[in-house]
Amino acid sequence: MTPTFETASFPILSVSILIPFVAALIVFALNEKVAKPISIVASGIVLAISSYLMLVYDPKDYKIQFYEKYEWIPQFGISYEVGVDALSLTMVWLTALAFFVSFIWSTNIQNRVKEYFISFLILEAACIGVFVAWDLVAFYVFWEVMLIPMFLIIGIWGYAERLYAATKFFIYTFFGSLFLLIGVVGMYIYNFYSNKVLSTSYFDLLNVDLPHNLEIVFFLLLALGFAVKVPMWPFHTWLPAAHVQAPTAGSVILAAVLLKMGTYGFVRFNLPWFPEASKVFMPVMFTLGVIAIIYTAMMAIAQTHIKRLIAYSSVSHMGFVTIGTFALNMEGVNGAIITMISHGLTSGALFLAAGFIYERLHSYEMKDLGGMAKFVPVFATLFMISVMASAGLPGLSGFVGEFLALLGTFKVSILTAVLAGLSLVVGAAYTLWLYKKTMFEEELLSEERLKEYSHIKDLNSAELWSFLPLVIFMFVIGTYPNWWVNLINSTSAFVLHKIVGG
């Protein structure tokens, strides 16, 4: 199955990469008062573009749509090649949404406002680039560019231990991605030796006929790069540190967008490129996925720091994506992709909630919190919905993806499905625990602490407007998953076409 291309009449994807970048330049040139409006407008345009693309995307046959290709480094056959299928497109949309929300949220940044928005805008350009690039070097460039702004975001605007967290984040990801680079270069060279084609294009590397042992090696190299980013157990230790220290908007982006890059990599590259190796490694991935789900869910229960709790829950959810992906059937991959979208929404909302709580009560520790629900009813409602969506309540987005992923896994390995399914209970436990410890139980608080509470205000309009889109889409996906499944069906079929045949 060779994909066909539908060349864009207007370079709309390049434009959506360029808009944040140009906005960053404008912010650089102007003063800091206009930084926030410009960023919101720029990311709003990108969100509008990606929503429009999602509506006009034709999901019937698998085609790479809005496709552009220009020569970049002809000596190596490297080109700038962008286009979307449903997987890319939903991720781009999620990216655009997450950045839009983060920009609206970022009202009370006082320190180095200009640099803050410039970092986020460059990060947005790089993130969109990762999801739309089909040339492997371009993909890698975007993948790595992202490290620089994220390093600065955690390191400059983070909390006390920010430097440690930023460096750890950087070094872990850099380490993983160098192996990814070796894998890509290896594929490229093998393709050159065997087919005499100098190209780093995804589609040229798709049809390389690898010998079995090389396929295993390349699978492992790429998987190492992606596993650090997902992050899969045992490479996850950078994540809690990074999340705890990052500023709220940074955490939102980290959870909603950056983690998706790892799972995106698995679905996009490992499955179609290495079908045999994927089958071989299915048990390994299942094991790692189940460990991630159960172990990190247990870890989450033990946390008293609410951001750390949400961070561990992210690792746990990413475990579902992993097992869904490596179930290697339609339900599994569909479930994985929908869980990716849903987790982007729910974890984004949860980190916003954590940020809200911190701004009101200046603590992330559960022992200082509690009893907020009475004072902030609107927030409490939205927070409740996010928590429920994260726990996988039917009718909300989390349920759809996890259900499909489990269904796919069940067909392949009952044991894995049962173990993963059991942990949903644990998942419900820690999210409800989180809610209870922050929103209820005011009787556990001291008199003085309660007095401070009378000052706290409910969501202001900026906060409300950053919360609402996430919550609305949790409902949209949860109540009408059909549209989303239809959208990604042909893409999942393409991802699996070498594995299941056809």
Binding site: L152, G155, F170, I171
Partner: protein, 489 residues
């Protein structure tokens, strides 16, 4: 006179036209040598040097390629012309910021200008040598000028110590190179690179290997590869910082170019001997350079060790022993020169300010005290680390390509691990600049030229990372030019 005339009658007049860049540099150097006795006007001397270098750089474009002159002792091909151009251009940046530095250190010597020009002349001779003797002369002219330049800092004991160390170890290196040349001459009966290649063909024996190994050791010493690097930290740290930029940037470039030319043209057939040798040197340089750099508190010293590590990256490409490797090494050498010079000139500019000691602590809060310069440094650090979209990444990409295409997996892994380690110290600079509060509020006093030069170099680094196709094409041309010379004769 009679003998000279008869030689000319026999061999013909050498084509001096193609030597114009060298002649210009030599003339300017000699003019300054005399002029410096009568004037203490530094601006005049430095303007004259820059004018000469600029003129020489322009003249490169008007020269016929492919000529050999001076009776086969001097080659003017694409390879040498391009490197001459690069050497001249990058030297100009150093001359441009030289005077303020010398003023602030109150250490003026008229000798600076013509010695620098002589060392540049030596580098130009090195890159256009088709012959081991010419190479040796160029290398010596460059090294001897640099020995003196390192010591030319008034009232600084360390400078003398560094110069002395450099002199002794560098002298040993030269001796080793000359032994190597002697052995090779004994084996093949010629100094000519192509002649050597023809004689050795594929069956290199003990004599040839002995000569080659000595040559490799000597050249590795000049390029400061581990374990022949011991002079580097002291000499680099002791030298006046612009001179460090000359040594760590321009001289390195010329040395790499020479290494590539000698290995490809003279020993192209015996890559199974030199490829493993360079691989071991490369691996040792990467490991030692990066690990020691991690421990440095002084940024100048840290950059020195980082330059040793970069020697490792660059030599690693040679370990592949194929065309892709030459391609990669030339590209990396060309982009590294910009990073290295910008890095050292950055320090030279800040060193002029009161209270700046080049320590990592001094970088704290630099982003607030001088945002633009901090941004330039950020670009440079990420480029040295090899993060896209900077030229450093493209260089490393080429090296990965060459290593994997030659199946040298172990060196690839060493490269990966040491790159990750190097993140430790590059990130520390960035973190200190951006993530700490400034330690003092004092304003920095930097000249416009310094800002412009460093800005130009770092933005060039960024642009070459975003659109490297031009430089890849150039290194492609240069590789072809090298291989063509090797094949043609």
């Amino acid at each position: 006179m009679g003998i000279l005339l008869s030689i000319v009658a026999d061999l013909g007049v050498p084509n001096f036209y193609v030597l114009i860049p060298e002649i210009i540099v030599l003339t300017v150097a000699l003019t300054i040598l005399v002029l410096e006795l009568f004037t203490k006007n530094k601006s005049l001397l430095s303007a004259l040097s820059i004018f000469g270098l600029g003129l020489a750089a322009i003249s490169v474009f008007f020269i016929q390629e492919g000529d050999k002159t001076l009776y086969g002792l001097y080659i003017v091909d694409t390879f040498s012309l391009w490197f001459k151009f690069l050497i001249l251009i990058t030297s100009i940046t150093i001359f441009a910021v030289f005077n303020p530095y010398i003023d602030s250190k109150r250490s003026y010597y008229g000798e600076h200008y013509y010695l620098m020009l002589f060392s540049i002349l030596g580098m130009m001779i090195m890159v256009s040598s088709p012959n081991l003797i010419t190479m040796y002369m160029g290398l010596e002219l460059m090294s001897i000028s640099l020995y003196i330049l390192v010591g030319l800092l008034k009232r600084d004991y360390k400078s003398k110590e560094g110069a002395f160390k450099y002199l002794i170890i560098g002298g040993a290196g030269t001796a080793i190179i000359s032994y190597g040349i002697a052995l090779i001459y004994g084996k093949t009966g010629t100094f000519d690179l192509i002649g050597i290649a023809l004689k050795l063909q594929d069956n290199i024996d003990v004599g040839g290997i002995g000569g080659l190994v000595l040559l490799i050791v000597g050249l590795a010493l000049k390029a400061s590869a581990v374990p022949f690097h011991f002079w580097t930290p002291d000499a680099y740290e002791a030298a006046p910082t612009p001179i460090t930029a000359l040594m760590g940037g321009v001289a390195k470039l010329a040395t790499y170019a020479t290494i590539v030319r000698v290995t490809v043209d003279a020993f192209g057939g015996s890559s199974e001997v030199w490829a493993p040798a360079w691989a071991v040197l490369a691996a040792a340089s990467m490991v030692v350079g990066n690990f020691i750099a991690l421990r440095q508190k002084d940024v100048k010293r840290m950059l020195t060790y980082s330059s040793i590590a970069h020697t490792g990256y660059i030599l690693a490409a040679l370990a592949s022993g194929n065309g892709v490797g030459f391609f990669a090494i030339l590209f990396y050498a060309m982009v590294y020169v910009f990073m290295a010079i910008a890095g050292f000139l950055f320090l030279s500019a800040f060193e002029r300010n009161e209270g700046w000691t080049n320590s990592v602590e001094d970088f704290k809060g630099l982003a607030k005290r001088h945002p633009i310069m901090a941004l330039y440094m950020l670009i440079l650090m990420f480029s040295m680390l090899g993060i896209p979209p900077t030229a450093g990444f493209m260089g490393k990409f080429g090296i990965f390509l060459s290593l994997i295409s030659a199946d040298v997996w172990w060196l690839t892994i060493v490269l990966v691990i040491t790159s990750v380690i190097s993140a430790g110290y590059y990130l520390r600079i960035v973190a200190n600049m951006y993530m700490y509060e400034p330690i003092s509020k004092a304003k920095f006093n930097l000249t416009q030229i310094e800002k412009a030069v460093i800005g130009f170099l770092s933005i060039l680094t960024l642009l070459l990372g975003v659109y490297p196709a031009i430089f890849w094409e150039i290194s492609n041309l240069l590789t072809n030019s090298l291989l063509m010379t090797a094949v043609a004769r």
